[in-house]
């Protein structure tokens, strides 16, 4: 690891998870003989998450937030940049190496859709036992861990659930099984990708509370990926707002949400309604248009075609990331001192 990350001063070097100038592109071949083209899903993202800390990664669909999460736990390989986990550079390690350093046991993921993330032919018992078998945990300890995990996600008494199959459970219960599976190997780092967006409002809070309790009890590093900032508010320490695969704004969660600086961040936050009958009497001031195609993104700042403050330079040159307020970093020409 380098001594300092001079080009990304918001990255803390002693953190458990560090991404430095990460880029993950997908390749598409438009035709048999055509030149392959790239979808720049994650384009120059740097971040760090320490133990006991939750980072919310917020953006719209196509912003690259899911690709970023999957790259960090090495379900995808980046084309450039580095990922450090507990001080080790894991960017280019192969599966065997990742296993030998315990990486696969120490990271895990909760997916969005509890209807498709659990195998319908496996019992809850097997769903939870499988990761333990893979990591070579002896039988007696496995049983103990399964019970503990079910209790932790408040599927109690565990005996009532252990022999059931996913179709016998409600959406909220399935998502709790998915969380139990994610924590059963005692990971240090969890990526939760929209864990409550498929659930009804009255169950969401319960799932969020469970996640928050687990994260704090085990002091995990936690990455909460969402398009909905209001659910992130309840347990996030920091926020990274992404637009079209790129960094938009990063800082302490409450600070950023209260006073967002990037014009995209301002729009994103303005767009979210709180329940208030006065909402109906006014229009929301949000940016027009929709996110760009990532095969051929706009030149300069990718937000400039929608930005109400777009200047000449925004069209020509990509903005640098600057510290606009202590601890708050923004990739926007408005805040560059020239």
């Amino acid at each position: 690891m380098p001594e300092t990350f001079e080009d990304a001063p918001w990255v803390r070097k002693d953190s458990l998870v560090i991404a430095h100038r990460l880029r993950t592109y997908y390749t598409i071949k438009p035709g048999l003989l055509a030149k392959p083209r790239f979808v720049k899903a994650v384009d120059d993202i740097s971040l760090s998450i320490d133990r006991g800390i939750t980072l919310a990664v917020v953006g719209e669909s196509g912003s690259g937030k899911t690709t970023l999460g999957r790259t960090l736990i090495r379900l995808l390989k980046p084309i450039s940049g580095e990922i450090y986990f507990d001080g080790k550079d894991i960017t280019r390690m192969d599966e065997d190496e990742l296993k030998s350093i315990g990486f696969r046991r120490r990271v895990s993921m909760v997916f969005q859709d509890p209807y498709s993330s659990l195998n319908p032919f496996h019992s809850i018992h097997f769903i939870l036992e499988e990761p333990l078998m893979i990591h070579g945990i002896p039988r007696e300890e496995r049983e103990e861990r399964i019970y503990e995990a079910l209790e932790e996600v408040k599927l109690t008494p565990p005996e009532d659930f252990i022999n059931k199959y996913p179709h016998m459970l409600s959406g909220g219960q399935r998502q709790r099984v998915a969380i139990a599976r994610a924590i059963i190997t005692n990971p240090d780092f969890i990526v939760a990708d929209e864990p409550v967006s498929m659930l009804d409002a009255s169950i969401r809070v319960e799932i969020l509370t469970i996640l928050k309790d687990i994260q704090q009890r085990h002091r995990m590093a936690f990455m909460y990926i969402t398009h909905d900032i209001s659910t992130a508010k309840y347990f996030s320490d920091y926020i990274l707002i992404m637009y079209a695969g790129q960094f938009a704004e990063y800082g302490p969660f409450r600070d950023v949400v209260k006073n967002p600086l990037h014009p995209y961040a301002q729009s994103l936050i303005e767009a979210i309604p709180d329940p208030d009958p006065n909402n109906r009497l006014r229009e929301r001031k949000v940016a027009p248009g929709e996110p760009p195609n990532l095969v051929n993104p706009p030149s300069g700042c990718r937000f400039h075609p929608r930005c109400p403050y777009a200047m000449d330079i925004c069209k020509r040159q990509e903005p640098p990331v600057v510290e606009a307020r202590p601890g708050v970093f923004v990739k926007c020409w408005l805040y560059v001192k020239r």
Partner: protein, 329 residues
């Protein structure tokens, strides 16, 4: 004398027949809607809110076993008239709908214009006139008129949703039913669509029935709010009353589970799950999850046995505040 409401729904019922039994998706629901008013119907999945919308425009699935009650639109009963008459005179012209996820149901091989005018042609409008109506509507939703010559794949998600909204208003209906009109859209696109819906409402004095699971989003449009739970209407009133003084324990639970970005509050949740509509709990359908029923002995034998009546509360809004709960008897 009280002016007659634009839409009156009396004791509406719609049951489905499935292999597991009869699903009472809408069970004895009554409400009214005034001219220019927006009523949000809020409930979780399985509350019957979408079925209620389908009942109002009379597009229901084949396995329906019972449709009952009265729907009085502009002084005329329309639930029991012939389908032919409803199609010619009522649907699209008086009451139109933006069905859930319908932007993904646009036919990929037919031009936008041709898809839009199909219902108008079936009603006997001439092709040129229908096309003009479609282009006027597209302009009203902020799209260029020549979109009629494009195909759906050439449009973004937000633009497709605008096309669907244009379709719903092109025959100048008085009521538009919006069934989760922003559910597949991104946050900012959603806000832009809500802005458009507000603008259309003010411009054309539309009445909306806005079906959603999201109480925060409902407040973007709603003059009044109706809360549905397990096929029943449990509370209805002006937006100020429902948000300011939620009275049904379910409404209270729902509101306190909505995360808020700008104000800090402690979130709570309603334990348990929405009941099955095949064999719903007796009495008040919410009683197994109700915190008051658990705490107060005098409610035993009442909530779990007898269906609560609609009770009028003192409200601050222009609309009556009604709640179906034994606590207020």
């Amino acid at each position: 004398m009280i002016a007659m409401a634009l839409l009156e729904v009396h004791n509406a019922k719609l049951y489905y027949l499935t292999t597991k039994g009869i699903v009472k998706a809408v069970d004895d629901v009554s409400f009214e809607l005034n001219e220019g008013e927006t009523l949000a119907i809020v409930g979780e999945s399985g509350s019957g809110k979408s079925t209620l919308a389908k009942l109002l425009v009379r597009v229901w699935e084949r396995n329906v076993t019972l449709v009952d009650g009265e729907v009085i639109l502009d002084g005329k009963e329309v639930l029991h008239i012939s389908e032919e008459e409803f199609r010619r005179e009522i649907r699209w012209k008086k009451i139109a709908m933006v069905p859930q996820a319908s932007m993904n149901a646009l036919n990929p091989v037919i031009k936008i214009g041709d898809q839009m005018i199909e219902p108008l042609l079936l009603q006997g409008t001439g092709r040129d006139e229908a096309l003009k109506m479609a282009m006027d509507a597209l302009e009203a939703v902020g799209l260029p008129r020549d979109i009629v010559n494009r195909y759906p794949h050439q449009l973004s998600g937000g633009m497709k949703q605008r096309v669907i909204i244009a379709m719903s208003i092109m025959a100048h209906p008085k009521i538009v039913i919006l069934d989760e009109p922003t559910s597949a859209l991104d946050v900012i696109t959603q806000a832009n669509i809500m802005n458009l819906l507000k603008k259309l409402k003010w411009e054309f004095k539309l009445s909306y029935i806005f079906i959603t699971h999201d109480l925060a989003l409902a407040s973007e449009l709603a003059d009044s709010v109706a809360i549905m739970y397990a096929g029943k209407l449990v509370e209805i009133g002006g937006a100020e009353d429902i948000y300011g003084n939620p009275s049904h324990p379910y409404t209270q639970g729902l509101i306190s589970s909505v995360p808020t970005l700008r104000v800090d509050k402690t979130l709570s949740f309603i334990p348990g799950e929405v009941p099955s509509l095949i064999n719903p709990p007796p009495g008040c359908r919410f009683h197994p999850r109700c915190p008051f029923y658990k705490d107060r002995d005098y409610l035993r034998g009442l909530c779990d046995a007898k269906e609560p009546p609609m009770i009028e509360l003192k409200g601050n809004a222009s609309r009556r505040h009604l709640v179906a709960c034994w606590l207020y008897k």
